[in-house]
Symmetry: C2
Subunit: 148 residues, 2 copies
């Protein structure tokens, strides 16, 4: 979203400086989508296209054993999203609080996705279930939540 683009009903705030903690990007996500309009609304871990997670050094060793997990949780940084809206007006209608949406627009634009592991190829992990832009910075890989 263009930083100046606000829809009717949306409310922006003067957000405090983002300076409480710092992140390091640990990889890059390769997907078929190069512009936001082409991205899916949500990933499909069963039938979606295979995407490549490229892990940077010195973190490649941290993949040891990853092939034992069928489902992974990925965290990544939605680097194009504005961070100052508290109310949003989705295209589906209505105006609603940011914490009631999974929109990229949020105070800390961290996405989480549950994906299916397809294959590990050295420093890369192939998965299905993503919906993000090509070149999205990777923050973390974990096994999926334990489900009770």
């Amino acid at each position: 979203m263009d930083q100046g683009d606000i829809r009717p009903g949306e409310v922006r705030v003067e957000a405090p400086e983002a300076a409480d903690a710092v992140l390091r990007f640990i990889g890059t996500i390769r997907t078929p989508w190069t512009v936001r309009a082409d991205c899916r609304r949500s990933g499909d871990a069963e039938h979606g296209p295979v995407c490549r997670i490229e892990v940077f050094e010195p973190w490649v060793a941290a993949l040891a054993g990853i092939e034992r997990h069928d489902r992974l949780e990925l965290l990544y940084w939605m680097h194009q999203a504005r961070r100052d809206l508290v109310l949003q007006s989705p295209r589906s209608g209505g105006t609603i609080g940011t914490f009631t949406l999974r929109s990229p627009v949020r105070p800390n634009p961290i996405a989480t996705a549950i994906v299916r592991l397809v294959e590990v190829e050295g420093a890369s992990v192939l998965v299905r279930g993503l919906d993000c832009l090509d070149g999205t910075p990777l923050l973390d890989i974990k096994p999926d939540h334990p489900r009770g």
Copy 2:
């Protein structure tokens, strides 16, 4: 974990500076646990104790509509965790890659938890299902993942 404390088999790396993106804390999580040893291994969204999420201004307005969601995803910052291990030796045995564990020790110590909403009280949200320290910084609140 004490920053100097490494178990047999664990491998630390010279991690690059964490400076690719910045976070702002948007609230505080109140739980019954004040030391790491008391924290559960994982939260229980059905029978766990009720914990209080206190949202800071100017983000309180972003809670609008949250009560419609039974299950929420919370993201928070594990501020006491070291960030430089690629192989870890859990107490359960063996040595395994960091990305194969949900341990707090990881290059970007962001936790994700699926919790059950109990009640909204003004700027606070009461939930079950957390396992973190009292005073943990909050990063985000989202509806749970759509599950296919």
